[in-house]
């Protein structure tokens, strides 16, 4: 029997990420020059010594499955436990897609039972943060809680965009407000839960029978627990946390890595970031290159100017280019004298010589791939 196992929800489609999630699940979207969004949660598990992890996939899972593989990069290739990818399945009495976050766990009760843990950690694969789940567990045990929900203070004016938890002074939760118009608290749920497994199991089974339920942790399970006066506690997290739900926030979260403070997170020797690495050679910075305030991965050739940008592996930026506040995914080639500002260029896109795409400061950064680019260039000639 294990004390705790992790269940990582990675089935999200991420509709608001537009073209970025055309063919891949949101957790698999490239992030931070070398990683995929899910690497932050996976690395958190490794660093928090979570040795058994179920990853629940649903939407376009190919890239995600390939990325996770047998879990080796995260030391999750283990004889017992390790990582298991759990996709929706059919069985004797039929089967269905995961209809909500709680349903996804419900349909894998047999997986959790196999490991028979005392506690279950429920996390999702689309947030950027570094957290020691053991600290969360310690508090959960110390408060003898049935559920502990990690919360973060958000600015009061933004509180109505979040699921807000109203707590007593000692952080016991008495009310859950989903996107309240007049928030009573600014403690937002981060979608990170620890449940005592026996309790959760009972609630999942009850919830599954309710036809009217949306089978969601925030909307159904937590309110039901509160109705029955269970011991629910908030765990206050004080680090960096970002939901990369929109193109704007995806872009911002990448730019945040260029910050002096949070950016150090990637270089933290005590909290390493793991990913499926490749064997690309070191980057080659040419004679006339001008590079500053940027993140650049291996296999890149840079001859132009790069400022405040993130370059993934195997990107080529030719002479005379000016790349500003942009994100270039793996294999992007930028032809001579091109200008990019606030643009997110998807994998293997080739940008012709002299192309200029500049997005204003108040507009949402533009996502382009080869198809979008071809469309743009035919419409308006070279200058956009």
């Amino acid at each position: 029997m294990e004390e705790i196992i992790g269940m990582l929800l990675a089935g999200g489609e991420g509709k608001r990420l537009g073209a970025l999630t055309n063919n891949i699940a949101k957790p698999a979207v490239p992030f931070g020059g070398k990683y995929r969004i899910i690497d932050f949660t996976l690395s958190n598990c490794t660093n928090s010594n979570i040795q058994t992890l179920g990853v629940l996939t649903q939407y376009s899972p190919l890239e995600l499955n390939r990325h996770i593989g047998n879990g080796k990069p995260w030391d999750l290739d283990r004889g017992t436990g390790g990582v298991s990818v759990l996709s929706p399945y059919t069985a004797k009495n039929g089967g269905d897609w995961y209809s909500g976050t709680a349903d996804a766990i419900y349909q894998n009760i047999h997986f959790i039972n196999q490991h028979n843990p005392e506690y279950v950690l429920v996390i999702s694969g689309d947030h950027i943060y570094q957290m020691d789940y053991q600290r969360l567990l310690e508090q959960h045990k110390a408060t003898e809680a049935d559920a502990t929900i990690s919360v973060i203070e958000v600015p009061w004016e933004e509180a109505s965009r979040f699921g807000i938890l109203n707590t007593t002074e000692n952080l016991r939760i008495y009310e859950f407000d989903e996107k309240p118009i007049n928030p009573k608290s600014n403690l937002a749920s981060m979608g990170i839960y620890i449940f005592t497994w026996e309790t959760l199991k009972a609630y999942l089974i009850k919830d599954a029978q309710k036809k009217s339920s949306s089978h969601d942790f925030g909307k159904d399970i937590i309110p039901a627990m509160l109705d029955n006066d269970l011991r629910l506690y908030a765990y206050q997290f004080n680090g960096y946390w970002k939901d990369v739900g929109t193109i704007q926030s995806y872009w911002e979260a990448n730019m945040d890595l260029l910050d002096e403070d949070w950016g150090q997170a990637l270089n933290n020797k005590n909290w390493k970031m793991y990913t499926n690495d490749t064997n690309y050679p070191p980057q080659f910075i040419g004679e006339d290159a001008v590079v500053s305030h940027s993140l650049i991965n291996s296999g890149c050739f840079v001859y132009g100017m790069i400022e405040s940008s993130v370059l993934f592996k195997n990107v080529v930026v030719e002479r005379g280019c000016s790349i500003n506040q942009s994100i270039l995914h793996p294999g992007v080639k930028v032809g001579k004298n091109a200008t990019l500002e606030r643009v997110i260029v998807m994998e293997n896109t080739e940008i012709p010589e002299g192309t200029s795409i500049r997005i204003g400061e108040n507009e949402e950064p533009l996502v382009i791939n080869q198809d979008i680019l071809t469309g743009m260039l035919t419409l308006s000639g070279e200058e956009i």
Binding site: G32, G33, Y274, N279, P281, I285, S294, L295, S298
Partner: protein
């Protein structure tokens, strides 16, 4: 199908790397921003379809073992075949073998058990990105006993002096192996040999109390063997001194050389790390340089090779230098023509200048 097994023989490599080989043998010297010397021989074998590779290593091999691990980074962590690091054995009182023959003798099982009938033998000082498939085909087509890989050097340098030269006829049969310094056709130390023949030569050499498999077993018996040569084309380098090491690293800053060595359809493989992308801070200035992941650059870097995890602080200038893993260069430092081995810490305001011909070398883990 005919296949080859691999052998990287480090026993008779001459190396004059001073500080760089105080604590490691020549094969595990870092090279080219993220590699070790041995990666080239090893990757070439794996990329040529070889699934089992043995390494003869006698001394200072802790760093080599650490680097190679289970061989997984070269896809050599296999059920069948894989990576064999073979130390010599000194405990057999009847064993009278010497030199590399001691390795061959005491590790016969490696050759006997291997399913391949041919062995590709290499050292670690010939640097290239080569698929030996064509050379092997040439070896089979012409039913040679031994095929020596040679390369023609346009501009002979002092480091080439210690390598054998090959004299061959018009169709590639080797007539002589010499030390003629003017002959530009160098033996790369890489050769293909039939396994049965190899085992016979090993026995003969031991019987005659020889101590060098290639010199006594092949060079001196040339007349009795069908030895041919296969010409390697494209970028390559011989590295056996500090000077050649420095010069060849600097040569990689010419894009053509860099492309030919690293940007081939098959990559040179090395130990994978968990370093994040290079972080350039505001006002960093980097020109004509190679940087590996994990570096944090706030100062100026020009014409230099930076290995993983190097930190260059504000107001510091680095020129024509090689900076190995995890060095920290504090503020206001000036380095020119310098080689810093791993984990060196250069404190604020230091100036270290070597000459182009004699770079200044700082040994591992020093604080300057």
């Amino acid at each position: 199908m005919d296949t080859m097994m691999g052998l990287i023989n480090l026993e008779h490599e001459h190396h004059v790397f001073n500080e760089l080989t105080y604590f490691r043998n020549g094969s595990s010297i870092p090279f080219g921003g993220r590699y070790r010397m041995i990666d080239f021989a090893l990757s070439n074998m794996v990329n040529s379809g070889i699934h089992e590779v043995a390494i003869f290593a006698r001394s200072k091999f802790r760093s080599l073992l650490d680097h190679l691990g289970t061989g997984e980074n070269w896809s050599l962590d296999r059920r069948n075949g894989g990576l064999y690091i073979l130390p010599p054995d000194w405990n057999d009182p009847t064993d009278m073998s010497r030199g590399d023959l001691q390795f061959f003798h005491n590790n016969r099982d490696y050759f006997r058990r291997g399913k391949s009938s041919y062995v590709l033998i290499s050292g670690s000082q010939f640097i290239s990105n080569t698929n030996y498939h064509d050379a092997f085909k040439f070896h089979l087509d012409r039913k040679a006993d031994v095929t020596l890989i040679s390369t023609k050097i346009e501009e002979l340098q002092p480091e080439h002096n210690s390598y054998f030269r090959i004299e061959a006829d018009d169709i590639g049969w080797v007539k002589n192996i010499t030390n003629d310094r003017k002959n530009p056709s160098l033996f790369t130390g890489v050769y293909i040999i039939n396994k049965e023949l190899l085992m016979e030569i090993v026995d003969d050499c031991i019987a005659y109390n020889n101590n060098h498999f290639f010199v006594h077993g092949i060079k001196e018996r040339l007349a009795g063997l069908k030895v041919q040569t296969y010409r390697h084309r494209g970028y390559s380098a011989f590295i056996n001194t500090i000077e050649s090491y420095y010069r060849q690293n600097m040569k990689l800053l010419e894009e053509k050389n860099y492309q030919e060595l690293f940007y081939q359809p098959t990559f040179v493989r090395t130990k994978i790390s968990t370093n994040p992308p290079v972080k350039y801070r505001k006002d960093s200035v980097v020109k004509n340089s190679i940087l590996a992941n994990g570096c944090i650059i706030a100062g100026e870097v020009e014409d230099s090779v930076l290995f993983r995890g190097v930190s260059v602080k504000k107001g510091t200038t680095i020129k024509n230098s090689i900076i190995m893993q995890r060095c920290t260069i504090d503020e206001g430092v000036y380095l020119e023509n310098v080689i810093l081995d791993k984990d060196v810490h250069v404190t604020e305001g230091q100036r270290i200048i070597g000459s182009k011909d004699k770079p200044y070398v700082v040994a591992k883990r020093q604080t300057v």
